[in-house]
């Protein structure tokens, strides 16, 4: 035993130490992370975000330098506080507070004292910076907007929030990310790829050289430029026409599915969400629940489509063979149906009418009868509705269109299940849903869906999924989603009578005063009833003014939908705006100045005040 005691102890200690080492090096993995946080500093290099151009190559969004005033507290020397504060344009207390915060964060590390100075402020400050030791200026890149419109299309960039940080490990706290519109949808293309450099730190947190000889470092890759399909002149013009009104304009080039304009009103200048005022502006607009400037009505607002929907009813009836173009239906200030003498009203016009004239005069009776025939053609109303719905779905209604913007709503085209749920006895009939015939009832569409449907009519039977990006870094948007035709269920021959009717809207019908000399426009007015709740009571408001149109009739170049909330009747606001937009786009200038003057000089603000005023009001005045 005497001989072996030390042997045993040596071997035992060896084993114990190896056990401890196994625990430190292999079993407990937290030490590696500790070391990484400890000894490796990661520095990101941010590339320039891609520029955004309009369809004609006009620069819409670029970058501008912005300057943060930074401080490293331990390097501070006494300085003239008052002068410095006046240079920065902040009160002395604010500076004191910022310095306190900086010290609490770290005395050795940089901290932002005043963020995002403008170029002018920077120029002023720069000369005197040398007097303030411990302070320095760090350059950053912010968005620079060349237009005051299109905020809804462009979107904005902001610091990433915690939710994104948890989900996507590309982003670090403080990184900027696209939050809406194209900035969000094409974030990956626009942002490029940030470069990263690792530095070996020493125990004083100083960099002492590249980590692992820079083997893991990567270079920043510049973001890609994007060319939109938006025509910025048309967009700005539309924005101007929509002043003092609420609603949206969506215009599409039917041949390509490219969005020419996407206007929502009211909107805001995109530059409001840049720089030092960003946060207060954002809060103000985000919580404005009345005018909702950040709500894209063109994509998100689901309205009853009203009379423009009649074009579809007519098309489906033709396709199903339940009407003939020449066939006339009578109208006696409405259509009486059912066993208890129920009536769908209509305005006064000559009777009976064929399809084209019924379209031109927007005869409720005609399309109610057509609709009834469509539904009643099948063995049961369930099958009838579902067949009707199948046609509508092929126009991109009642579902997401799949365009390249992050906001959207599906709208609504009711299926038989929907009515079965409302009427559990299933004893509902075609006429129960008769309002659908004229775009009221259970049907809801967003403006972009209406515009897309118009494009499909203009193309006589097909459309391209609408999209807003034309080129990425000079390469055409080749995404097959946007280059493949989507055919509707309607044969192209059946479109002519309807298009003829839409033309007659301008020559003989509800929009006869909206003609633009030299341009053959086809369109359809719409006046949709709508309701709100005031103190829990369903209350009817002034009708929405709706208009769809495309032009020219042959080889159409533009198809659009205009919605003006509470604009009373279709031709009144929406029709005028549609004609002006079409002329502006096709001709580049306006000859129908009387229409323009009327639109610019009429405001709907009073109308919008009514339901909020708390006093009884009259509608449709």
């Amino acid at each position: 035993m005497r001989k072996y005691l030390l042997h045993i102890i040596i071997i035992l200690v060896g084993l114990i130490y190896l056990g401890r080492l196994f625990h430190l090096q292999i079993y407990d993995t937290s030490y590696t992370n500790l070391s990484r946080n400890n000894a490796v500093k990661t520095v990101y290099e941010y590339p320039q975000r891609g520029n955004i151009f309009d369809r004609n190559g006009k620069l819409l969004v670029s970058n501008q330098p912005s300057y943060d005033v930074m401080v490293i507290p331990r390097e501070l020397k006494p300085f003239d506080t008052l002068e410095f504060c006046s240079l920065l344009g902040i009160p002395k207390e604010k500076l004191k507070k910022q310095l306190q915060k900086a010290r609490r964060y770290s005395t050795r590390l940089q901290y932002v004292v005043v963020p995002q100075l403008s170029k002018e402020e920077y120029a002023f400050l720069q000369e005197k910076m040398h007097k303030y030791e411990g302070f320095y200026i760090q350059k950053r890149s912010l968005r620079n907007y060349k237009t005051k419109s299109s905020a809804n299309v462009l979107g904005y960039i902001a610091e990433v929030n915690d939710r994104i940080l948890r989900k996507d490990d590309y982003y670090q706290s403080g990184d900027l990310i696209g939050m809406q519109g194209v900035e969000k949808q094409y974030e990956k293309e626009l942002r490029g790829s940030k470069g990263v450099r690792y530095y070996q730190k020493d125990r004083f947190n100083r960099e002492i050289g590249p980590y692992l000889d820079g083997k893991l470092d990567t270079l920043a890759i510049k973001g890609k430029d994007i060319q939109l399909s938006i025509d910025i002149d048309l967009q700005e013009y539309g924005q101007k026409l929509m002043q003092n009104k609420r609603g949206g304009i969506v215009a599409i080039e039917p041949k390509t599915g490219e969005l020419l304009t996407l206007i929502t009103a009211p909107s805001y200048a995109p530059e409001l969400l840049v720089g030092r005022k960003r946060s207060s502006n954002f809060t103000k607009m985000h919580y404005d629940s009345i005018t909702k400037p950040m709500y894209d009505r063109g994509l998100l607002a689901e309205y009853p489509p009203g009379s423009p929907f009649k074009t579809l009813t007519g098309l489906i009836a033709l396709q199903e063979g339940v009407i003939q173009p020449k066939q006339r239906f009578s109208c006696t200030h409405g259509y009486y149906y059912g066993t208890r003498g129920r009536k769908m009203g209509c305005h006064s016009h000559s009777s009976p009418l064929n399809l084209a004239f019924a379209t031109a005069n927007s005869c409720n009776s005609y399309f109610a009868q057509s609709y009834r025939k469509i539904i009643e053609k099948e063995a049961s109303p369930q099958e009838g509705i579902d067949n009707w719905r199948r046609h509508l779905k092929s126009f991109g209604l009642g579902g997401f269109l799949g365009y390249d913007l992050p906001a959207g709503r599906p709208g609504k085209i009711p299926a038989s299940k929907y009515y079965d749920a409302i009427y559990p006895s299933k004893r509902w009939q075609g006429i129960t849903t008769l309002s659908n015939a004229i775009g009221q009832g259970e049907v809801l569409c967003t403006p972009i869906q209406l515009a897309n449907m118009t494009a499909a009519i203009a193309n006589r039977g097909y459309f391209y999924t609408p999209h807003v990006v034309k080129k990425i870094d000079n390469d055409y948007n080749k995404n097959p989603k946007y280059t493949e035709r989507k055919y509707t269920t309607i044969d192209s021959l059946n479109f002519e009578p309807i298009i003829d009717g839409m033309h007659k809207v301008f020559t003989h019908g509800t929009a006869h005063f909206l003609q633009v000399p030299g341009i053959t426009i086809c369109g359809k007015t719409g006046t949709s009833e709508n309701f709100t709740k005031i103190e829990g009571k369903r209350t009817q408001l002034t009708d929405h003014s709706i208009f769809i149109a495309f032009a020219p009739r042959e080889n159409p170049k533009i198809a659009l939908a205009v919605f003006v909330e509470n604009g009373y009747w279709g031709a009144r606001y929406a029709g005028r705006i549609a004609s002006l937009m079409i002329e502006k786009y096709l001709r580049g200038s306006i000859t129908v100045t009387h229409l323009e003057d009327w639109v610019l000089n009429h405001s709907l603000e009073e109308e919008y005040e009514k339901p909020l005023s708390g006093i009884p009001f009259k509608i449709n005045q």
Partner: protein, 416 residues
């Protein structure tokens, strides 16, 4: 003078020794590595200086191998006395570095006599024990033996350098091997255990537990004669000891001593302050994983996060850059050397060589035990070097001489 016989030197020990020297130098190079310095042998760098020390230590090896073995036995007392004089000389002439007067300064170089005192003490102890008149069971002999060990230890403790003084406890192993009663080792072990338990749980709880333990023992052994008296005396002694530990810890120890104990006992966790060394060293080692970060690639090591990494904390660099596998290799080599020396000691014909060999192995092992224990956070922070690896000429020479005197004895074992 007999001819030297290099061929008879134990080659396995040489292989371990060479590996440890090389491994040590490689790690010193890495701890002080900076990409701007390309030369391996820049005398302004620690690695360059250490290379010089290594070269000089081979000169010492040649001298030892050329010396007659009997020289060491015959002159052991004189070598011992000389090392005591060197230790004494520190008080008037020594140089103070970070609070301890442990160095002689010759120009820019410093030399630490306490490292060499271990050799003198080992030789003197071997000489005394191998004396025909010495009987480790007699009080008188034990008294002399204690004096031989304690005098240099006290001189070193007065510098003050508690770590180096503590190493002299290693001589208990050769004493035990040569017949010192096991009770003394057990007693010392008990003393150390009580010390730690008292600090961990507080003196009152320990004394109470001892009392309860005494009653339990009494219950089982109550038939024995004189048991009550024995237990009472034992209890009184232990209680007195515990209270004195408590007193010494709180009233004699300085705050930094207390802090070091508290860190290891897990009573405080202060990674910014006093626990910084241990914490950084653990992070460095933990960062190594299986195969290490690679030479001069350890982020902790290159960032100089571990203070004193080229000296006492050299193993943390090895752990980070060579990983568990490298650590395993090192531990095998080091303890392999200790065991090999023990094996060689056992085959000596002369008692002098055997005791000396045991002393060598014990000292190397004790350094390993305390140094590595500290670096991996199992021992309090006690500043002693890791033999053959830590930067420093004095310790490198002292350990080389210590080892090679024995290897020379072993080579010559059949000659006499």
């Amino acid at each position: 003078m007999a001819k030297s016989n290099i061929g008879a030197i134990d080659w396995l020990s040489i292989i371990f020794f060479t590996f440890l020297l090389f491994f040590g130098w490689v790690n010193i190079y890495s701890t002080t590595f900076s990409p701007e310095v390309s030369s391996f042998f820049d005398l302004n760098q620690y690695s360059g200086k250490q290379a010089m020390w290594i070269g000089l230590s081979f000169v010492a090896i040649i001298l030892i191998v050329a010396t007659d073995t009997r020289f060491f036995e015959r002159f052991s007392s004189i070598i011992y006395l000389a090392s005591l004089l060197l230790l004494l000389g520190l008080f008037p002439f020594g140089k103070t570095i970070s609070g301890a007067t442990s160095w002689y300064a010759i120009g820019t170089f410093t030399i630490q006599p306490s490292e060499f005192a271990k050799i003198g003490t080992a030789l003197a102890l071997a000489k005394f024990i191998s004396d025909i008149q010495t009987d480790l069971k007699s009080i008188k002999s034990l008294g002399y033996v204690s004096l031989i060990i304690i005098i240099p230890a006290l001189l070193i403790l007065a510098q003050p350098d508690a770590g180096s003084a503590m190493v002299f406890a290693a001589f208990l192993f050769p004493l035990h091997r040569e017949g010192l009663t096991g009770y003394i080792l057990f007693l010392l072990f008990a003393v150390a255990t009580l010390f730690i338990l008292t600090l961990l749980f507080g003196v009152h709880w320990i004394v109470l537990s001892l009392f309860v333990l005494g009653i339990v023992i009494y219950y089982f052994l109550r038939k024995q004669r004189g048991i009550v008296l024995f237990l009472l005396a034992g209890f009184a002694a232990m209680a007195a000891y515990c209270y004195s530990v408590d007193f010494v810890f709180h009233n004699v120890f300085k705050q930094h001593h207390r802090d070091r104990f508290n860190i290891v006992l897990g009573k405080t966790k202060d990674i910014r302050g006093i626990g910084y060394n241990t914490n950084q060293s653990e992070i460095a080692i933990g960062n190594g994983r299986w195969f290490g970060k690679g030479w001069t690639k350890g982020s902790q090591t290159q960032g100089n996060f571990v203070p004193e990494q080229h000296t006492d904390y050299i193993f943390s660099a090895a752990g980070e850059e060579w990983g568990f596998i490298g650590s395993l290799l090192f531990i095998t080599a080091f303890l392999g050397l200790c065991l090999r020396v023990l094996f060689l000691a056992e085959r000596q014909k002369s008692q002098f060589s055997r005791v000396y060999g045991y002393g060598v192995s014990s000292i190397l092992f004790f350094h390993f035990l305390i140094n590595i224990g500290m670096v991996i956070g199992l021992f309090p922070t006690v500043g002693i070097p890791l033999p053959f690896l830590s930067y420093g000429g004095s310790s490198l020479w002292a350990f080389t001489i210590l080892l090679f005197i024995f290897l020379k004895m072993d080579a010559d074992r059949n000659r006499r």
